[in-house]
Amino acid sequence: MNLDDREIKAAVSDYLGGGESSSHGLSNFKKLTEIYIYNFPRAAYRKDLDTCSGFYIYMVERLESVIKNFPLGEDIKFKTWFNCVLRNQFSHFMRFQKKESLYELNIDDYENKTAFDVFETESFDYSFLEDCMKGLDNAERLTLKFFYMPSSLTPEDIISSSDAFGLSISDILSVQAGLIKARADESSRARHAVMKINYINKVLRDLKHRLRSISLAGSQQGRAPAVPLIDRIARYEAAKARRIREMESPDRRLFAVFAPLFDNAVRAKRSLNGSKKKLKMMILYKMNARKTGRGLS
């Protein structure tokens, strides 16, 4: 989702210029940013669509005052500034929503419970994984966090990774941003592959059913099974195997973004594999300790 910096700055300039072009500038600005504003809670905080539409209406009411504050003379990208504004506005909106949804429940009236929204965004519990990661040394922990969970890096992680990998904070931040983007691409690639595999499975199921029916009819009449149908099944099986291989193969782009943390790609690969092995051992050890009820020394 991109915002055209030049076009938006022209719209803001039209609006701030006043006169006849002012209303045109504002409507142009709205047109250029509406999809961006609407999807902001979903993209940035994984919120549901109800929150998206609520936030959109909240922002539309405040858009004029927001646009007036844009520092047109400064050489800042509009997108960076707007993300900062949207983040601040979103935290105000959530506070405002929380205040509005304070219901007093009567304990006897169980039907009151329906006043609450039943849909919630999923949140994952990483406490066991984090507990296991504590057993790794700092560089190993950071290597895994950067590669697998770049979104969950803390300020302490960024500072210690700057020291551990010998890079400046801005370099570390750009690697983090690159990895977040590559991870998103990787998951959409996996989703696409799964969709294709599901489709192939459906086709295969139908073909195999047809083959069974034909074979049954053929065996009663003493005929050979339908060869073209078997060929088609074989082709689809091969396509499915190709898709599965594609899904399982490591994403080269992700690794290419990750590698600059190290001196070279070989060292990056070695470090990542070593950390992965150690984490696996740590998870097995902790799970075993949980099962047997013995604590770790």
């Binding site: 940035a44 959109y56 997108k79 993300n83 801005s170 983007k181």
Partner: protein, 178 residues
């Protein structure tokens, strides 16, 4: 608006995120000792990256819908064609058939004389659609029906904020006491 601890102006920090600041080394030195600024920088960096790769889809087609709100002599009508903004809204109908949300210049708002209103929905086309009205924030509708009728009337609507859904169109209205 201050950024983090407020030691650097917001614009300077935003320029740093854009990798465009002439004072990067001073800011980096500050970031090493200021968890408040560091936290904000990391969050904005994450938001920037996530929004860049997010794919929102295209704007769906618009469906014609007119809302009339009447209470005694007070009456107002709004058509979806007069809406200034349209945004896509999947609204539990799956990503393959997203809806639209109409946002009016000042939001649809009517002044009721303290009594209750009648809301009439008029739609184009006669395919079966869900029409419902729900209070803002509530997960259950006050009224809901699925029919192919061109006109649906909600009676006895008191002051408050509501969301009217008709097929793929969503209109937010607010009824205030005069």
């Amino acid at each position: 608006m201050t950024f983090g601890c407020g030691y650097f102006p917001e614009n300077e920090m935003l320029r740093y995120i854009d990798l465009n600041s002439g004072r990067s080394s001073i800011i980096e030195e500050h970031l090493r000792n200021c968890p408040a600024c560091m936290k904000e920088i990391i969050e904005l960096n994450r938001i920037n990256a996530r929004l860049e790769v997010f794919k929102p889809g295209t704007l769906p087609s618009w469906h014609d819908l007119t809302v009339t709100i009447s209470e005694g002599s007070v009456e107002g009508a709004w058509s979806s064609r007069t809406a200034v903004n349209l945004v896509p809204l999947a609204y539990s109908r799956g990503p393959s058939s997203p809806g639209c949300m109409a946002v009016f210049p000042e939001g649809v708002s009517v002044q009721a004389d303290g009594g209750v209103c009648r809301i009439t929905l008029k739609r184009a086309g006669n395919e079966k659609q869900v029409s419902e009205i729900r209070r803002k924030g509530s997960s259950l509708p006050l009224f809901s029906e699925k029919s192919g009728r061109e006109e649906v009337v909600f009676r006895g609507i008191g002051p408050g904020d509501y969301r009217i859904i008709s097929g793929k169109s969503v209109i937010n209205i607010s009824i205030r006491k005069a």
